[in-house]
Symmetry: C5
Subunit: 98 residues, 5 copies
């Protein structure tokens, strides 16, 4: 999985592949220190994520292995909201109010 | 999914993998701000996209999960036309006449 | 799919994964303007392509979705020969004698 | 597979895709000389790896082919702990206490 | 497929995904001229390759489509030993003693 920061959302009314009714968010990829990278993607949200959340992104055929995305034409799905990340004994990130 | 800008089309008469009859478009990948990136692809169109449209691209085995692309040898399919993209309260893109 | 230019061929007598009898070509990836990129691959040919041809390349599990590559250990298959590419009204490439 | 160095761990309580109960580690990708690269990922651990371990990472649908990750929404799984790596007769890495 | 040069081997006693008993080699990716690239991988060997051999690498789910790698957690498998590569009439590589 990759780390991502939710920065926006997409509206698309004409779409295929059982995407109707699914929320599509714009996500910036983050590195292991949760710093922005040049990469980004439009991802299906399965965990009710919101802008500003740091999330876990799952790509490839595994992006379809959630209840909401079975048989859906998605190659990138938000499958978790990150509460905290630690490097050794050091907590490098902790979600507020979590 | 990735954002893309449709810039052209491909004619290929000698082709395999159930591609006959499917429209193949040339697409420039866009980043999260809908700016061009150095990447591009030839993609199967399933939503009647046209040149100038900003679209959503689905790769990997999920590219086959539309009605038109079942069992088709495609690794990149246009699965949606983008109406608008917002970052927070700011609309960064709105399709004309949509 | 990616655009590619066929530049060579590979001989491999000791091989696995039902590759025996299949032609393996060396292909340079091309960008949306059909200019060379730094990337290349060895690809299974399913459309009788030859050196100098501009072709369409299909990767991932979809590379197996042709008659010749069913259950074959290929991650990159030539699935079409490009006759022409247009950007808007401008034909940027037309195959000779096609 | 890619080589990786385990550098941290992730806590995520709100997650999908049968990820509950699985350990998620932060991993830096290493090159063939086991030097750090700019790439990293959050990976499911199946071999009880710990921080400082050099591991083997498996991506794509194959990331689901372990007992713990069957049908799990993972695109990157730690599938082995590296004991040693040799280049010719030269051992370039040997795990301590292994 | 990608071209690779076998440069080493990996020992891993604690591993998952039916990897037990399979040989894991360290491979440098090569470009279309068989020159080294910055990329590398740890690959399952199915053709009895050795250090110094130039090989063909198959990734994604197709990496499992050999007799030895069925249902194995591999995303990169050596599926052929390269005997020769030609660009047009010019042989750019010929394996010694083959």
């Amino acid at each position: 999985m990759k780390f991502g920061l939710v920065i926006g959302s997409v509206v698309s009314t004409r779409k295929a592949g059982k995407l109707k009714g699914l929320k599509i968010l714009v996500v910036n990829y983050l590195n292991e220190n949760l710093e922005k990278t040049p990469n980004s993607a439009a991802c299906i949200d399965t965990v009710n994520a919101g802008e500003g959340d740091i999330v876990l992104l799952c790509s490839s055929s595994s992006a379809r292995l959630t209840e909401q995305t079975t048989d859906v034409a998605t190659d990138n799905t938000i499958i978790g909201i990150v509460d905290s990340v630690s490097h050794g004994n050091k907590i490098i990130y902790k979600k507020q109010n979590s």
